[in-house]
């Protein structure tokens, strides 16, 4: 039966080349768009370099104060992290890092913009950076406020040129201070904004005194690492309890919010602590996907109706010889799925080509899109969704066709 459906589906596709082209173009183009988008989201959200222990980590990067008429949200102060987060019982490590700042440096009369980030010693233990050369900044170096730095591979290339020799031991100047390079790590794309930087410096070398600001609002974030995955919810609760008891600084505020988030929650947090960014992100993505798919689907429904109605004589004959409406609807849905899958395959090939060009052009440095298993699964689901969405209505309409009318139509 299926073989027969396949035969006729292919025959019909070949006979109506223009319709087929329009349908396939619509499907494959839309799918390409969705695939590239999902590859991008997948890469940004699921690529776990360098935070490979993501499943037992929680990210605390924001605090928000709310009053009747105003609100204020920001990263945290070092004081806050040290006094409230570092004293938590559940975390085995607390990685602290500042938001990245930037400074200009001149090398051989060439201006280089360097993004820098201050980190504590635990930062290098919580995160698993791939070291191409050298090693991370040690606890001792941090404690002694030594002017050492870990730099990204891209910065090494930019600062020291295509020099193949090791950068370890060489000096890099940022903000008029010279730092000795102790390690070079694989670069991150800027989309991993929580961890991205060109150079990483010991937190103790920061120009501002670390505990000078005893408020909540500062420039630091923390990643707390639980002993195991089971401890993560407990750790989340422990932090929630701490936040619930936080003294409210000032009469203009009546609420203080801060969360220990999983990576994704933290990534999409909007800044409004009262509502989850997840809802916004998912709604935005779904709406976009729906919009992208709606027009081609409607078009496909239309093309399918025309195409099926052209075959009314066939429908009449099949019904006369014993096909029930249900069987016929099934046949046309299968045919449509075959068409969608053909479009899907073209879409996948097109996506690979598009991703190749995106990667080649390096629109976002170090963000290399790829068609992995997850993305392929999305593609598969999208194809089924597309096929059913655009096939069911025409098939249903056609299956209701009166036999005599169908036979007369030829």
């Amino acid at each position: 039966m299926l073989k027969n459906y396949f035969k006729i589906a292919i025959a019909v596709l070949r006979r109506r080349k223009f319709f087929t082209f329009i349908s396939l173009f619509g499907i494959s183009f839309t799918l390409t768009l969705l695939l590239v988008m999902t590859a991008f989201i997948d890469k940004v959200i699921n690529d776990n370099y360098p935070d490979k222990k993501r499943d037992r980590s929680l990210y605390i990067s924001k605090i928000e104060l709310r009053g009747k008429e105003s609100m204020n949200a920001s990263a945290l102060t070092y004081y806050y992290i040290n006094h409230y987060i570092a004293k938590m019982k559940m975390p085995v490590k607390v990685a602290i890092s500042s938001g990245y700042g930037s400074t200009n440096t001149y090398v051989n009369n060439r201006k280089i913009v360097i993004n820098y980030k201050y980190t504590n010693a635990d930062f290098w233990e919580v995160l698993d950076f791939d070291f191409i050369e050298g090693k991370p900044i040690s606890k001792q170096q941090t404690d002694n406020a030594e002017r050492v730095t870990v730099i990204s591979e891209d910065m090494k290339k930019e600062y020291f040129g295509d020099d193949k020799s090791s950068a370890v031991g060489k000096y890099i100047e940022a903000d008029n201070i010279k730092y000795k390079v102790c390690g070079v790590v694989k670069s991150l794309p800027i989309t991993s904004y929580i961890l991205y930087s060109d150079i990483y410096l010991p937190i103790t070398t920061s120009k501002t005194k670390l505990e000078a600001d005893k408020g909540y609002m500062g420039n630091y974030g923390a990643i707390v690492l639980a002993k195991n995955m089971d401890d993560v919810p407990k750790m989340k609760k422990e932090y929630a309890d701490i936040v619930a008891k936080l003294p409210i600084p000032g009469k203009e505020w009546d609420h203080v919010y801060s969360h220990a988030d999983s990576y994704i929650e933290g990534y999409v947090r909007t800044g409004s602590e009262t509502s989850s960014g997840m809802v916004y992100a998912l709604t935005a993505i779904s709406l976009f996907a729906l919009f992208v798919m709606l027009l081609p689907t409607l078009n496909l429904v239309n093309v399918n109706i025309t195409r099926i109605m052209e075959r009314s004589s066939e429908i009449g004959v099949r019904k006369a010889f014993g096909a029930s409406s249900k069987t016929l609807a099934y046949q046309f849905i299968v045919e449509n799925l075959i068409l969608t899958f053909l479009g899907g395959m073209i879409g996948v090939v097109l996506s690979v080509v598009v991703m190749y060009f995106i990667n080649d052009a390096q629109f976002i440095a170090n963000l290399n899109l790829s068609l992995n298993f997850t993305v392929l699964c999305y593609a598969f689901l999208t194809c089924i969704f597309f096929g059913l969405l655009s096939g069911v209505y025409p098939a249903w309409r056609m299956s209701k066709l009166n036999i005599v009318t169908a036979l007369k139509a030829q």
Binding site: N4, V12, V317, A320, F321, G322, A323, S324, S325, I403
Partner: protein, 221 residues
């Protein structure tokens, strides 16, 4: 075998009501070859469609093989047509995208059968109409007479007890028409298939067992 009682068929539009069939009472015996004649628009094809369960009468009842078919669901009707009835149309109604063999196999797709059985039965049916050498051809590569023979093979492949033919020779020249008629007569004679045929051709009608004439939707003979 087939019993029609007080069959009436009315076509209605917003403004007009047309009586296509008016109290038709008809019985067809098993193994009979009946022809229906009448001027264009007298309701011949409508009657044949009602006998073939392709259309519903507005009034009256029809039973085939002593089963009251007007009570059947869509699915049951489909199964019944598949087992009991074979159709031959004036304009063949072959599926142009399928090869001859696939066209002939079509009724078998809607019953339990393996691909091997289908192929064997379809080849046998094509042998009966003398077209076993054309199984890989597409309908567009065949002459009118050959196409109608493929359509006959499709009608008989499922071994139905009744064949309904709507002007099967209408599109063919007399030589080819005679050929087709000969095949139908043989089927009736050798296999005992009951045949109801609508025709315009008096000569063809004379070769059948009985002739029914319609005029303006009523039976006149």
């Amino acid at each position: 075998m087939i019993r029609l009682q007080n069959i009436e068929k009315v076509y209605r539009t917003d403004t007009i009501q047309t009586l296509a069939l008016n109290s038709i009472n008809l019985e067809v015996e098993k193994g009979e070859f009946l022809s229906i004649m009448g001027p264009s628009g007298c309701g011949k094809s409508t009657l044949l469609n009602i006998i073939g369960l392709l259309d519903m009468p507005s009034k009256g009842s029809i039973s085939i093989d002593e089963q009251a078919t007007h009570k059947f669901s869509d699915k049951k009707l489909a199964q019944f047509r598949n087992k009991k009835l074979g159709f031959i149309f004036q304009s063949y109604h072959l599926i142009n995208d399928l090869q001859v063999l696939d066209n002939v196999e079509l009724p078998l797709l809607y019953r339990d059968s393996t691909a091997k059985e289908r192929k064997q039965l379809a080849t046998e049916a094509l042998e009966k109409v003398g077209l076993s050498n054309r199984i890989k051809h597409f309908p567009s590569q065949l002459s009118g007479g050959q196409r109608q023979r493929v359509a006959i093979a499709r009608a008989i492949v499922g071994r139905p007890e009744i064949i309904l033919a709507d002007e099967p020779t209408g599109n063919l020249d007399s030589a080819m028409g005679n050929e087709i008629m000969e095949i139908l007569l043989q089927l009736n004679r050798n296999e005992g298939t009951t045949i109801v045929m609508v025709t315009h051709d008096e000569n063809m009608a004379q070769k059948t067992h009985r002739l029914v004439r319609l005029f303006d939707g009523s039976q006149v003979q």
